[in-house]
Symmetry: C2
Subunit: 207 residues, 2 copies
Amino acid sequence: MRIPKHIGIIPDGNRRWALGKGMEKEAGYDNGISPGMVLYHLCRKLGINEMTFYGFTVDNTKRPSIQREAFSKACVKAVEELSKEDAELLVLGKTTSAMFPEELKPYTNRHQFGNGGMKINFLVNYSWEWDLGLQDGAIGPKLKTADVSRIDLVIRWGGRRRLSGFLPVQSVYSDMYVIDDYWPDFTPQHVYDAIEWYSKQDVTLGG
Amino acid sequence: MRIPKHIGIIPDGNRRWALGKGMEKEAGYDNGISPGMVLYHLCRKLGINEMTFYGFTVDNTKRPSIQREAFSKACVKAVEELSKEDAELLVLGKTTSAMFPEELKPYTNRHQFGNGGMKINFLVNYSWEWDLGLQDGAIGPKLKTADVSRIDLVIRWGGRRRLSGFLPVQSVYSDMYVIDDYWPDFTPQHVYDAIEWYSKQDVTLGG
């Protein structure tokens, strides 16, 4: 089976999951950490070289502060968990903003943890406008995410069929696989299905 | 029903359609012109303000010359057909290349034809790298497609679930609807289904 080198993860549906369980919306995020760790171990086993997690965006921070605090805290916890594993970890996002968690600043340069071996990019307070260097209608001169490679496969949980501002340049040729289940209901079978589907797609890179 | 303001059209599957009919691959393109005209009239009727057609890309021009000539000719015909209708027409792409059809150069500034009323953007010899002004690893300072607005809904024929380099910036928040049928097998029902699906999606623009 053809295995993607780099997968992008859009872990959507945390709030809808919580509502469905009769919980407050913000309770969903804490239930998204453990799926991420299971996914990390699964991807290592499958031999995937690089993963990018869509943590939260600048747009997301406009939500009610109780939600903002919950998803921010969940991202901090997730990055700290990942730093206990074998990984080359990099957190990317707009650090010059109060919305960027102080605890994650040490991770904004890529460091090897444990025996390294898998690149993990974690987008935190990310924005595609920031990424492109967009200012007063001008772009450039360099992608802020230049260290993130082309993404082969984007897997999105929660049923929406869109990128929602996720790494527009690295995703230009990505195949997109959408899972209707919400992210906290993650199961390894989701990933097996996504990769089996991906392995049947032709790769033309626009050709 | 909520109608998208701007739809992107990825009319894929022309070659696979031709093969399925026992024809040579390049014969598919000529059968893609009439679907485009039916689609144009349908979108006018539905009150859609702007449409962007993915004609061909710089990557596509690396295909065998018999195919290249066929899709280039089909794009010229399509633009000429559209110029007989009511439309504000603009052809966008890398004109500084022998691959850009001479006949389309007059269309690279937006002109009103007939009574205007609908913006039509036609991508010809387009490339996302060109669009972003990518050169020697630097981007900017301005999108070459700055005159093309944000796309609400991308409809892709031919089953592939990806953007294939289509307008990465305008598509950051687009909902994506994929039709398994090949583009020459276009029917209006495809569009009705896409718009009905779109009208049920929440629009958050990343929020």
